[in-house]
């Protein structure tokens, strides 16, 4: 059962534009699974009004960690928080990654930029389960890979790429991960990152017949399925309660596709269901 609670910040770590907060919220930490998210209130007054959706980066009996990049007013306010401050945190929310059945199987985790956030939690769970995990971590430059050492501390291979070649392989993470996928076909692919990165990985995964799950990002109003703001075009699914089939304006949607609430049916979806926009 998700909870809306005040969470004390125990530690705050900052890199160049990236931030990690450790929040004391035992109920959320105990209940959270990898790929789930929380809604965090950055301010206390009416501006910014809405909470921000953030992936659970790590979870345990004491609470959770959140990892984010300064992107706008909300994340800038969050970045200014210090140990001892409190935040309103609502969660854990949404459906996370499928974990289980990967003992002695090979799992590839691909994170681009701040999209690495949910993959640390996932990697930890998969390692505990006995899966052979490889993490791919891409950024524009070395400064976009602040979690490298933390991931390596899980004692698994972390393959990095940067657009400018300042660290790891020069080029896009989709190229590096794509080559490795062809070489050592994994049993499962998980990814979170920019839209284009996931779109390319979906194609590669599909061509190689690799099962894939991606975590999507969206502007959210509430995070709990009430406002229907965070929809995304999806193929398949139940089409039952909450389905968006039927009349609307300005939609040339194809048969079998529907608007799905990312907060409720996601944020993690099977790659083959996602309709790509870019």
């Amino acid at each position: 059962m998700p909870k809306d609670m005040k969470a004390r910040i125990n530690t705050a770590v900052t890199w160049d534009g990236y931030h990690l907060l450790e929040l004391e919220c035992p109920e959320i930490g105990t209940a959270a699974g990898p790929g789930q998210f929380v809604m965090v209130r950055a301010g206390s007054g009416p501006y910014p009004l809405l909470r921000r959706p953030l992936s659970v980066h790590a979870a345990g009996p004491h609470g959770i960690e959140i990892f984010f990049k300064t992107a706008g007013q909300g994340t800038a306010l969050l970045a200014g928080k210090r140990p001892g401050d409190s935040l309103d945190v609502l969660g854990p929310l949404g459906k996370g990654f499928t974990v289980g059945g990967l003992k002695e199987k090979r799992a590839f985790l691909v994170g681009g930029g701040r999209g690495i956030a949910p993959l640390y939690f996932l990697a930890k769970k998969l390692v505990a389960e006995g899966a052979a995990v490889t993490v791919f971590y891409g950024g524009r430059t070395e400064a976009d890979l602040p979690l490298r050492e933390k991931l390596e501390s899980l004692r698994l291979p972390v393959l990095c790429s940067t657009d400018d070649g300042s660290f790891g392989t020069a080029g896009l993470i989709t190229e590096l991960a794509g080559r490795e996928m062809e070489r050592a076909k994994p049993d499962m692919l998980y990814a979170c990152g920019p839209e284009l990165m996931m779109k390319i990985l979906a194609k590669t995964g599909l061509e190689l017949g690799v099962r894939a799950e991606f975590s999507l990002e969206a502007l959210m109003g509430c995070g709990i399925g009430a406002c229907w703001s965070c929809v995304r075009r999806m193929r398949g699914g139940s089409g039952g309660s909450g389905s968006g089939e039927g009349k609307g304006k300005g939609e040339g949607g194809r048969e079998g596709e529907r608007w799905v609430k990312i907060c409720e049916e996601g944020p993690v979806f099977p790659a083959e269901n996602i309709v790509w926009t870019e």
């Binding site: 809405l50 109003g221 509430c222 009430a226 229907w228 309660s241 039927g246 304006k249």
Partner: protein, 304 residues
């Protein structure tokens, strides 16, 4: 302890705080965070006869002290609601009010007629004011004649009371309220959202996929309050105030200005327990001021 019950004539509420349609899903989404019997009533998301797909994203944009939305009333439709959701809402002690939509006068009447055969509904709220359905933001509540006709059609088809929800996007809202009253509306709720837009400076694109949307949140409260006061002064039926309410004090402003009840909207999205907190804050204020019944404060504004 203050008596928090209010009497809308056709409907007695345990307290004056309702949850606004479109911000409260179908109610059940809020169960982990709010005792659904705590508000005086819940108003579920607007329903058409059939499921509706809604508008292309982005569907929201945050603005100073507010948000613009253009959801386009995506939803399950009245049949799925009656089969899958209403049986669970029926167990609540609080009033369940259903927001009724339609693309035509016939559809409004058909939705209401269908719902009138279902048990466990206290009243209907006619959504004649959604700004996100027609391309230019038009809605029946922009016209006294169109409003009159929808209300008349629904009233002649149903046994339950009807609340008409008005749009603020008009020149003279009291005139529209009077038309709804004349057509038999049992109460007036106002306001729906203000037609609005926001632009992304970098991409030069509208921040809302459908270009226009409706502004809600604390930013609209002073304008909405003005309209509620104008309408309460002009009609004889009870008025329900809506617009940027996020505290007991906000709700009391509306009630002093003439509202018999209020709806909490955007605050539900930010704080899913908001409606319950607001009930407590109103009660605490009344207790602190020696008020024995919340009804004592309705319309007590002193304008000199």
């Amino acid at each position: 302890m203050v008596d928090m019950s209010v009497d809308l004539g056709f409907l007695k509420l345990r307290n004056p705080v309702l949850t606004a349609s479109g911000t409260f899903g179908y109610g059940l989404e809020f169960e982990p965070y709010l005792d659904l019997n705590k508000p005086g009533g819940i108003i579920v998301k607007g329903l058409y006869l059939e499921p509706r797909e809604g508008n292309p994203p982005p569907r929201i944009a945050e603005t100073p002290a507010g948000m613009i939305n253009s959801i386009g009333l995506q939803g399950v439709g009245v049949k799925v609601f009656a089969a899958e959701i209403l049986p669970r809402l029926r167990k609540l002690e609080t009033a369940v009010i259903v927001n009724v939509c339609g693309c035509s006068d016939d559809e409004y009447a058909a939705v209401a007629t269908f719902l009138d055969r279902q048990e466990g509904i206290a009243a209907y709220e006619l959504n004649v004011s959604c700004p996100n359905i027609e391309k230019d933001g038009w809605c029946p509540a922009m016209s006294a004649e169109a409003t009159h006709e929808v209300v008349r059609r629904v009233k002649s088809a149903v046994r339950r009371p009807v609340i008409t929800k008005l749009s603020p996007n008009v020149t003279n809202i009291a005139e529209i309220a009077a038309a709804a009253e004349e057509a038999g509306s049992d109460a007036i709720s106002l306001v729906n959202t203000f037609l609005a837009m926001a632009v992304d400076v970098e991409t030069r694109k509208p921040k809302i996929g459908a270009v226009l949307g409706g502004l809600s949140g604390p930013a609209i409260k002073p304008i909405a309050l003005r309209m509620v006061w104008q309408v309460a002064s002009a009609v004889g039926v009870p008025v329900i105030g809506i617009g940027g309410i996020s505290s007991g004090a906000d709700a009391l402003e509306y009630m002093i200005a003439g509202a018999s009840a209020v709806q909490v909207g955007t605050a539900n999205l930010v704080e899913p327990g908001a409606a319950g907190r607001i009930v407590d804050e109103i009660a605490a204020w009344c207790d602190a001021h020696g008020i024995s019944s919340i009804r004592e404060i309705i319309g007590t504004i002193e304008t000199g």
